[in-house]
């Protein structure tokens, strides 16, 4: 139901969603200490599509996990619309993830025993104002494969189900960790189209991790991370449609 999705697009001025200051994350202690984040300062705004670039070990995933409430920082400030995520307890983080964040992972993480529709419905049942599972799957062009199990879908299709699952609750934030990492170019582009469409039509703040620099061309803003810090950050005046990318 694209018409329905279209009605959801937002035209209001961007507002600050995340405020990140001096964020550090240290794993382990003593000689085994690993400094995954070494002081990140960042603001993320509603409706934008941000691509997070950086080599392996630069702290991309750690940052994403902290933003998504999967992990808590060691020091620093991290707030979502005024909610201090560093002070939130497990239940508050669960609520935050449940109501606010949609996740897309490199390896899809679908529930193998549920069909495409059921994987999405799993979320819509616990969300407050969700899309219908069918509408969410339609948005990623999987309206015809509603009743297939993950094992009956290709990698790209599985990833699109994962995107549908992530956006079905109309999350304010969509976090994607290497969403095309396990896919070939053609399939990867289809997946990126789905992410871009969700971002545009639902006005979701979307953060995409990649180490594929080409993807930066579709972003509103590009953040380069290295050694646990933001190296530089630039805005893209004319983001390209995902369909025009090639690598």
């Amino acid at each position: 139901m694209p018409s329905c999705a279209g009605a959801l697009s937002t035209t209001t001025a961007p507002t600050q969603v995340f405020r990140v200051r001096g964020l550090t994350k240290v794993y382990g202690t003593g000689p085994a200490e690993v400094r995954a984040l070494a002081g990140v300062d960042l603001d993320l705004f509603s409706g934008e599509l941000v691509v997070l670039l950086g080599p392996s070990g630069s702290g991309k995933t750690t940052l994403l996990n902290n933003l998504g409430g999967l992990d808590v920082p060691t020091t620093g400030e991290l707030s979502y619309r005024g909610l201090d995520l560093t002070a939130a307890d497990e239940d508050e983080l669960t609520t935050f993830r449940r109501n606010t964040v949609g996740f897309v992972f490199q390896f899809y993480n679908l529930i193998p025993s549920l069909t495409a529709r059921e994987n999405v419905a799993l979320i819509t049942e616990i969300a407050t104002d969700p899309l219908s599972p069918e509408a969410a799957l339609e948005m990623v062009n999987l309206g015809a494969r509603l009743d297939h199990f993950p094992a009956q879908l290709s990698g790209g299709e599985q990833q699109r189900v994962a995107i549908a699952r992530a956006i079905a609750k109309r999350p304010e934030v969509l976090l994607c960790d290497e969403p095309t990492g396990a896919l070939d170019v053609r399939t990867g582009i289809v997946v990126l189209e789905a992410i871009q469409r969700a971002n545009r039509e639902l006005g979701t703040l979307t953060v995409v991790i990649t180490h594929n620099a080409v993807m930066a061309e579709m972003a509103d803003r590009v953040i380069h991370l290295s050694d646990g810090r933001v190296q530089h950050l630039h805005a893209n005046a004319n983001p390209k449609p995902a369909s025009s990318l090639n690598w």
Partner: protein, 788 residues
């Protein structure tokens, strides 16, 4: 030096220690029982054998009226006889100041100047009788202990109507009285019945048996036929009032020990078998899961040139470590429990030294059996994993194939929650795994039923014995059969409300080639004190003619109601008659034959005589009544129902209670082990899926529900099946215990079933809690990385 593969083995094992422990514990329970029971069998059998050998326990025994001593020489000359010991055995009444009721005993003679040839005594305390001494006795340990008698104390015996104070020289044990009990009594009462030994000369002159004997024991020459010797002996002794000789197999004390050993044999096979079966299922579940997890590692090992054999051995080692742990735990537990149980046997069986002896053959057997069980449990999955081509194994396993579950295809799918769908589809996708889990859980439920069923059976027997069959408060026996007139005397004793006559007669009952020696119980037609009931619990009225026997005895003889049985009296005029079998009686302890008291006397061609009586007594005047009995010299023994019952409660019931609690504890461990193991495997297999659910916003409780639903579904399948299995196990065990000495009714109460269900539910709840705690420690971010 540890190879790297061994290092991997130990580290992997450390990670899965909870499950390793669960499997090892279940195995340990089975092995502990096996080692415990086999060692007890070994302890009892070897101790008894050594005792018999050292103290020259006879092989054939005969009671008779009176025979001249020279006859013993003729017996010794019989072909097949090795050694003969003639002696005197008489029943006496005792007066113990601390007892209200008269006590009784059996006095045996000892040669005046030498140790007896056979059935030699073991001196526990004090000293032997001095040659030519008078007024001295040796006393059996059980009676001495129950009455706190020590060497130097004295007791008053009524020897052939003559009161005589004798002093106790020593406390002794005899291979003939490992189990001290009044002949014919199903249960011992060591307080009121004892065994004594006196010099031949003194005993013979007290009972007018000078130069004669009335009890004979003998041993057989190697290779001699016991049957033939008994036949010859009976021929020789019949003119002297022989009551029919019998071998060890019919010796009351020997039978009791043998019966215990037989029950232990039963327990040493049945329970361990089931436990090890459960352990095999569990090992299979744990290792199958491990192999799936380590699919890529196996591929890498193979890519680097490890042979299939090395890989098979490596994974079998996982199973063998669990086996080794289980064997060590089981052996230690078996030895500790065995020591405890041997102490319990001291209460029943009197050996010079009964200590726990480890049956060493049980250890390799235990190891072998559990290793075989574990290997069988895992071999096929290990070999399947080893056969996987490396390139294929290197790729992560493709997403599992699912389809809507049967229950959904049946059309009610729309009603199901997602949690429920995930659970049922998982179960349906891996039916074998689900089957093994259900089987393990069902077995665990089943074995919970058995110990309680045995307990309920014993309680039922005792209630039946004392509340339904035996309605009198006490019964007594006379020294000699006496005129029925004595009932008038009894009737007028203080406190007596009712009295009924009892006429016991030793007979041999034969039907075709099968025969049994026992005492016929002659009772009034409408016996109200010793009731004879049929299988439907209706009282059998004893007809003027004909015999009613225990159902079990009829089975042993192969006789049916209407058949004619040959009854040969082994006392009095030794008459022989053919008597119709007119009814079957339901009883549980020993086998019995009942007849109308008049019919018995007619059969024996005697007048109206009785050998004892049973009473109901006004409780307020009980002491008066007992004291009055003490003054009637013809009364030789008194059995008080409540004291027998109390005695039983403290000994046999305590024994069964101890065994039952051990078995129950084991069954509980198994139930917990199976459920916990299953929940852990479920968690391990689904960690990624569950973490994903947590990441996308499900609360801990919601995710826990997914895990618990599967557990609950499997339990719902397993528990009814387990109750059915338990019923089967119980039936089999109760059937196997169905012997001539003891039979148990199959009693399956709602309480028993409810208890089994409760334990499984508690085990499930507890395991669920443990696993849910693990769930809270799930590494959410980690689950999003590449599948393992």
């Amino acid at each position: 030096m540890l190879s790297q593969l061994d290092r991997k083995l130990w580290r992997d094992l450390r990670r899965m220690k909870g499950q390793v422990l669960a499997v090892a514990m279940v195995m340990a329970c089975g092995l502990a029982m096996m080692i415990m029971t086999r060692s007890l069998i070994f302890s009892l059998e070897s101790t008894r054998r050594e005792y018999y050998e050292a103290n020259r326990f006879a092989e054939v025994f005969a009671q008779l009226k009176r025979a001249p001593n020279w006859l013993a020489g003729e017996v010794a000359a019989l072909p097949g006889v090795a050694a003969v010991q003639p002696s005197i055995s008489v029943q006496v009444t005792l007066d113990l100041p601390q007892l209200d009721e008269p006590a009784s005993g059996n006095v045996r003679s000892l040669p005046d100047f030498a140790a007896p040839e056979l059935n030699r005594l073991f001196l526990r305390a004090g000293r032997w009788l001095r040659p030519g001494s008078r007024r001295e006795v040796l006393v059996g340990e059980a009676f001495a202990e129950a009455n706190h008698l020590r060497p130097g104390d004295s007791v008053e015996l009524l020897l052939n109507g003559k009161r005589q104070r004798v002093s106790i020289a020593g406390i002794v044990l005899s291979p003939e009285f490992i189990f001290e009990s009044r002949p014919g009594a199903a249960l011992p009462d060591n307080r009121t019945y004892g065994i004594f030994w006196m010099p031949y000369k003194e005993l013979a002159s007290a009972f007018d048996l000078d130069g004669a004997f009335n009890y004979l024991s003998l041993t057989l020459a190697p290779g001699a036929s016991e049957r033939a010797v008994i036949a010859e002996l009976d021929r020789l002794l019949t003119p002297y009032g022989g009551r029919g000789a019998f071998g060890r197999a019919d010796h009351p004390s020997h039978i009791r020990v043998s019966d215990e050993i037989r029950v232990l044999h039963l327990l040493s096979i049945g329970f361990p078998l089931v436990f090890l079966l459960v352990a095999a299922f569990m090992t299979n579940a744990v290792l199958s899961r491990l192999l799936v997890l380590q699919r890529e590692q196996i591929a890498i090992l193979k890519a680097f040139g490890f042979t299939n054999r090395q890989i098979v051995v490596h994974y079998l080692e996982f199973a063998l470590v669990m086996v080794a742990a289980g064997t060590v735990l089981g052996t230690v537990a078996g030895i500790l429990l065995g020591h405890r149980l041997v102490l319990m046997y001291h209460r029943f069986f009197r050996f010079p030294d009964l200590s726990f002896r480890l049956d060493q053959s049980a250890l390799p057997l235990a190891l072998l059996v559990s290793a075989a069980a574990a290997t069988l449990g895992v071999l096929s999955s290990v070999r399947r994993a080893a056969r996987l081509p490396p390139a294929e194994a290197m790729r992560p396993e493709p997403p599992a194939n699912y389809r809507p579950a049967l229950i959904e295809r049946s059309g009610i799918g729309r009603l199901l929650s997602h949690t429920f769908r995930i659970a049922v589809r998982n179960i349906e996708r891996k039916p074998m795994q689900a089957l093994f889990t259900v089987a393990g859980l069902a077995l665990a439920t089943g074995i919970l039923i058995v110990p309680n069923c045995i307990r309920d059976g014993v309680t039922e027997v005792m209630d039946f014995q004392w509340d339904v069959l035996q309605r009198s408060d006490l019964s007594l026996g006379l020294v000699e059969p006496g005129s029925v007139e004595i009932l008038h005397l009894f009737d007028h004793l203080p406190g007596v409300t009712t009295v009924e006559p009892v006429r016991q007669a030793f007979v041999r009952i034969s039907f075709g080639p099968r025969r049994r020696q026992l005492a016929i119980l002659g009772l009034p037609a409408w016996a109200l004190h010793n009731r004879v009931l049929d299988a439907t619990q209706h009282q059998v009225v004893l007809p003027p003619d004909g015999l009613v026997i225990s159902g079990k005895l009829a089975q042993v003889l192969g006789a049916h109601v209407g058949d004619q049985l040959l009854v040969e009296a082994l006392e009095g005029k030794r008459t022989t008659a053919t008597v119709a079998l007119v009814g079957l009686a339901e009883d549980f302890a020993g086998v019995a034959a009942y007849m109308n008291v008049r019919a018995v006397n007619r059969l024996l061609d005697e007048g109206d005589v009785i050998t004892g009586a049973s009473f109901t007594v006004d409780p307020a005047r009980r002491s008066d009544f007992l004291r009055a009995l003490k003054d009637i010299p013809r009364v030789t023994w008194v059995a008080i129902k409540n004291s027998l019952r109390e005695n039983f409660r403290q000994t046999t019931a305590a024994n069964i209670g101890l065994l039952q609690s051990i078995y129950l504890a084991f069954a509980v461990v198994v139930a917990f082990g199976v459920v916990y193991n299953n929940a852990r495997i479920s968690l391990a297999e689904r960690a990624r899926e569950l973490a994903t659910l947590r990441v996308i916003g499900f609360s801990r409780r919601e995710v826990g529900a997914v895990l618990v639903t599967e557990l609950v579904l499997l339990s719902l399948l397993a528990v009814p099946l387990g109750l059915l299995l338990g019923t089967g196990f119980s039936t089999a065990i109760i059937r196997a215990i169905n012997t001539e000495t003891i039979r148990l009714p199959l009693v399956l109460t709602h309480g028993n079933y409810a208890f089994a269900v409760l334990v499984v539910v508690l085990a499930s709840a507890f395991s669920a809690l443990l696993v849910l705690r693990k769930l809270n420690q799930l590494n959410l971010a980690g689950a999003l990385k590449a599948p393992e």
